[in-house]
């Protein structure tokens, strides 16, 4: 992407002119990668979080629930749920209120799961960062496959009649204090809104940025110090077992999607097949043991196992598919 050309020039200026590092040396290449990626991802993060703040304001979870609860689109509601899961930002610490709120409002369990599966799988990073990192084709393929996995997973959960594994006693809440728009009666001016989006977005950027720096540092180490022939020998294999291995290795790790991307970018740069690298990243981002423990409070282990099983199989399928087409 050409719009990032100036960052590359800046990174090279700092690395090779100011720091006097040798072009082609391990330290030089790693530093160059680090400066370039920190600036590029940092800037993209600011933009993404601003956009996400706007989305959250005009399209809060309450509206998602309303749309899903009101309309029965006979099969299409799975697609709708997966699509909404993709565009709305989601934080795993909100998964319980979300789950209870959806199922309690009469949204079928399968549709709720289509949303829950697609939400971390297709996320702001895959939608907005991938085009700048891996190009349009990979972006479209990845997100399309993510939506398909979510739809099929939701349908499977419906088919299996998994409703019996939900802890019913948690769904009996009558709403007490309905949300009232705090701005009711007084119009929020456009400039106040813009300021609010900015401060909300920057709050998240500040939270995530340290992890992005760690991710980029890891990526820089891989980029600069892992010798190409070593990587070629061990990592670039297209053997069938590499995708499951990458998924299993990524599963116990948990990190924000934006911070994992530089690591993946470096791996792909070393010749790791893109599908394998994507499977690794998606497993890190999607399969979260803390989230599992939280969800355990509202569902029995059978349903939880089903949820994790579907996600794991889905990630592997996505990895094979991307490897096959690239």
């Amino acid at each position: 992407m050409d719009i990032f050309g100036w960052i590359q020039e800046l990174a090279e200026l700092v690395t090779f002119q100011w720091l006097h590092l040798e072009p082609g040396s391990y330290v030089g290449e790693a530093t160059n990668f680090f400066i370039y990626d920190v600036i590029k991802i940092g800037l993209l993060l600011v933009v993404i979080n601003y956009v996400m703040a706007i989305v959250r304001y005009y399209f809060p979870m309450e509206k998602v629930r309303e749309v899903l609860a009101r309309r029965r689109w006979y099969g299409l509601d799975y697609l709708l749920a997966a699509g909404l899961g993709a565009i709305t930002p989601f934080c795993s610490c909100s998964s319980i209120p979300l789950f209870i709120g959806f199922v309690g409002a009469g949204i079928p369990l399968g549709v709720t799961f289509a949303f829950l599966i697609s939400s971390p799988l297709v996320n702001e990073a895959s939608l907005y960062l991938f085009p700048a990192m891996f190009g349009l084709k990979i972006t479209l393929l990845y997100n399309a496959v993510g939506i398909i996995i979510a739809v099929l997973g939701g349908m499977l959960i419906h088919r299996l009649g998994a409703e019996k594994y939900v802890r019913q006693e948690l769904l009996q809440f009558g709403a007490r204090g309905r949300f009232e728009d705090s701005g009711a009666g007084k119009r929020i001016s456009a400039s106040a809104l813009a300021a609010r989006f900015w401060s909300d977005g920057m709050a998240i950027t500040r939270q995530v940025f340290p992890y992005v720096v760690i991710g980029v540092a890891l990526g820089a180490v891989i980029h600069g110090f892992v010798p190409a022939d070593l990587a070629e020998q061990y990592l670039a294999s297209r053997a069938w077992w590499t995708v499951p291995l990458a998924t299993v290795l990524g599963a116990p790790l948990y990190a924000n999607s934006v911070s994992v991307i530089p690591v993946m970018e470096a791996l792909a740069g070393k010749g790791v097949p893109l599908g394998t690298a994507l499977a690794f990243m998606t497993a890190i981002v999607t399969i979260s043991i803390p989230e599992g423990l939280i969800l355990k409070k509202v569902m029995r282990w059978q349903l939880l196992a089903l949820f994790f099983g579907i996600t794991t199989v889905g990630i592997m399928a996505m990895g094979y598919f991307i490897n096959w087409v690239t």
Partner: protein, 84 residues
């Protein structure tokens, strides 16, 4: 006396919201007590879908984000006017 509830299971964002609420109380000088609600059964009674949530005198004023201290201050002022 206002009752302010911070709804959330104890995630880092809930703690930040609590701190912001306390700051707003100090800044505006209103009399208020801050209650932390961590039990999901209690939280769900307010029908919010994302945490942390902020409740002023049983009215949900925000959820799913950490509002600025100035925003919280204006909600406190509103609630004081209503209560008076």
């Amino acid at each position: 006396m206002l009752t302010i509830k911070v709804l959330g299971s104890g995630c880092p964002n809930c703690k930040k919201l609590e701190a912001a609420a306390k700051q707003a109380i100090e800044g505006t000088g209103v009399k208020a007590e801050v209650v932390k609600v961590t039990d999901y059964a209690e939280i769900m009674k307010y029908d919010i879908l994302s945490t942390p949530g902020l409740v002023v005198n049983e009215k949900v004023v925000s959820y799913g984000r950490i509002p600025a201290v100035s925003e919280i201050s204006s909600w406190l002022a509103d609630a004081e006017l209503k209560a008076a």
